[in-house]
Symmetry: C2
Subunit: 237 residues, 2 copies
């Protein structure tokens, strides 16, 4: 069974204070998108990588991705449209498709392998998760504490049976025409049409790099890996 990954790299860099897309921001020796692709490939579980890039910056992405064995495609105006464009570029033999956010650049390869394994085990929609460490309140009606042990934080890569993901995206596109887009990730699109969602363990290193302080965190995590490579898989947990 072929396995493909769609890496979305279309996010703007505005909240990082950058004029270029976030995925081109550098940490350590490379841009975020390069770290993300390297980790996917290092998992040994993925055969094809498609990167969706913003049209205005396609040349810059082509340049940084040239040394890697990936296909670049131009994304769409929304995250959902970009994933759909990436999915359309996935080779036909790939029956398992991951969707990964380039901003989760330091996701350990073991997480990628775990997600693929769960899909190959028959789970049609798989999301890596980490515990909720903060206290949380619900603010619908009266404010009340929520038992955080009932919740998990979603990460990427999310993994799918290809047909299930394609079906979820077709349904989402049809809904978007009348209701607008609501879901923030791909397992939510699957859940919306009744496809069961499964969880596997994610990793705190897979944080989404969004704000300037997140780049500081990422540099620190990379430096720690370089110093004590054997401890890298354990990370923050």
């Amino acid at each position: 069974v072929g396995v493909a990954a769609v890496v979305t790299a279309a996010g703007s860099g505005s909240r990082l204070g950058l004029a270029v897309p976030k995925a081109l921001a550098r940490v350590g020796d490379a841009p975020l998108v390069v770290h993300a692709v390297r980790a996917v490939q290092a998992s040994g579980a993925v055969d094809h990588v498609v990167v969706t890039v913003p049209v205005q910056h396609r040349d810059a992405f082509a340049e940084v991705l040239a040394p890697l064995d990936v296909v670049c495609v131009v994304g769409g105006p929304t995250r959902q449209a970009s994933v759909a464009a990436g999915l359309a570029a996935v080779p036909a033999d790939a029956r398992v498709v991951l969707v990964h956010d380039a901003a989760r650049a330091l996701t350990p390869p073991e997480v990628v392998a775990r997600v693929v394994g769960a899909v190959l085990d028959g789970h049609p929609a798989v999301v890596p998760v980490v515990p909720v460490t903060d206290s949380v309140v619900s603010v619908v009606g009266e404010v009340r504490p929520v038992d955080r042990t009932t919740l998990r934080v979603s990460q990427t890569p999310q993994g799918f049976d290809r047909d299930a993901l394609a079906r979820a995206h077709r349904a989402a596109a049809a809904r978007a025409a009348t209701e607008g887009e609501a879901a923030t990730d791909d397992v939510s699109l699957c859940a919306a049409i009744g496809i069961p969602v499964s969880v596997v363990d994610g990793h705190l290193d897979a944080l989404k790099i969004t704000l300037p302080v997140d780049l500081v965190v990422a540099e620190s995590l990379l430096a720690a890996r370089a110093t004590v490579p054997s401890e890298a898989p354990g990370g923050r947990a």
Copy 2:
């Protein structure tokens, strides 16, 4: 109306890799507990500060807190017991009591003032909150996406009508005798006995410093404040 703050500083430093309590870890020019007390006092809204400290390290805390106008009391074996011990040491004229975690050392003074203001406006239990920025799933029964706009992340200082907080702690102590402790913060203890909880805006700088990477973040936030002091209140938001 007198306003008092109980600053809890009993957390261990083990997850920071330290042999001393977390609140003695240094960022910038001072230990976390000193930053926390300074911010409470800088709010201009608090008349008395009580710091609860672990008995084994009371001398070290007394030393770093000596230049500040605070009362140190020895905490208990649990967070809840420490808060109760701090509350017992609050002067009788204080009708408003804040409970603040020393590990949220960089909480801006404006958040402290906002919490006090809400209690003075008649809200018996007030929690500062920030939006949930991650995608979240519920894992009770089938995995399903949760609308994160219905949730908020709780921070401290939490603010209380003194009598309401005392009542909530007495009830919690009675429950703990039979059920053990479950709540992770003080507004939860209030909610458990039907006291209405209100929210005010917190601040992303009020992160809880728990892991080594959080110290890196804290140093970065402090450095940014030193460079551009006028932007400090805006912070990460």
